[in-house]
């Protein structure tokens, strides 16, 4: 705990501090979209993410969803339970491993996503209207780079 004040106090501007800016923007976007999911379909963000991944991959276990979404297993378990009760997804014990559950969308789940996805994409469209096509691609490229860098930092 050296308190040598020799070096000048460093400057921090939150507006230009990337972690803060990203967190803030992502939070605003999530909130806006969450409202739509909640109002139109009575889905939480966790539920929406699970349905979206199942729509894309057609069959996943709970632990795979945990990895894909970075949500912890309790949260996933609860969301899956709720979706199961609404019969939007089906669970079936795996043959090879009786511990895990194979999750997949039911007809109703498919139908709901067929309605929900266009809304989500339309909303995203309105948002990214702010960007040109090139900017949009750039943005993803930059996000990918940061993601990759984060992988490095975490494993290091």
């Amino acid at each position: 705990m050296s308190h040598a004040p020799s070096s000048p106090p460093p400057e921090l501007q939150l507006e230009q501090f990337l972690p803060y800016r990203l967190a803030h923007l992502a939070e605003r976007i999530s909130q806006s979209l969450a409202q739509i999911y909640a109002r139109e379909f009575e889905l939480s963000i966790a539920e929406w993410r699970i349905l979206a991944w199942l729509h894309q991959r057609s069959s996943l276990t709970a632990s795979q969803i945990c990895e894909l979404t970075d949500m912890d297993k309790a949260r996933v378990s609860r969301a899956v339970k709720s979706l199961g009760e609404r019969e939007l997804l089906a669970r079936q014990r795996t043959h090879r491993d009786q511990r895990s559950m194979r999750l997949s969308l039911t007809e109703a789940g498919q139908a709901l996503m067929a309605e929900a996805i266009p809304l989500a994409l339309a909303w995203e469209g309105e948002l990214v209207d702010a960007l040109s096509g090139a900017e949009y691609r750039d943005l993803f490229r930059l996000l990918n780079k940061l993601d990759a860098r984060l992988d490095q930092l975490v494993e290091a």
Copy 2:
């Protein structure tokens, strides 16, 4: 609720769905950084944000912090209380308005931030090492555009 299935089912790929990508990346970054704050300084994210804004603006009320950070007033109130108990910030009733509190860093709060900020900036530096200077500026430009667009959408 037209269920005319004339148009083909729209495609959604979460990896290329901006709200999801942003939320996911921001969450990973927040978590990494939160660990540092917690381990080194026993600060929550809410507490860190408040200290950082006070470092920058030197004096703010709780409701101003709510606006700046998009945190609700209960969360801010609790974080402020905790920081006050640790004597990292001081509260003083405003003269013009006896309801609000003028918050500012104490000496100890300044000292803590003098230690914390370099760590935060160093961590950010490691992260954005993934980007060139131009890419870094581009990223902020794009984030700014999205923020502005979001303002439009919200007020509309």
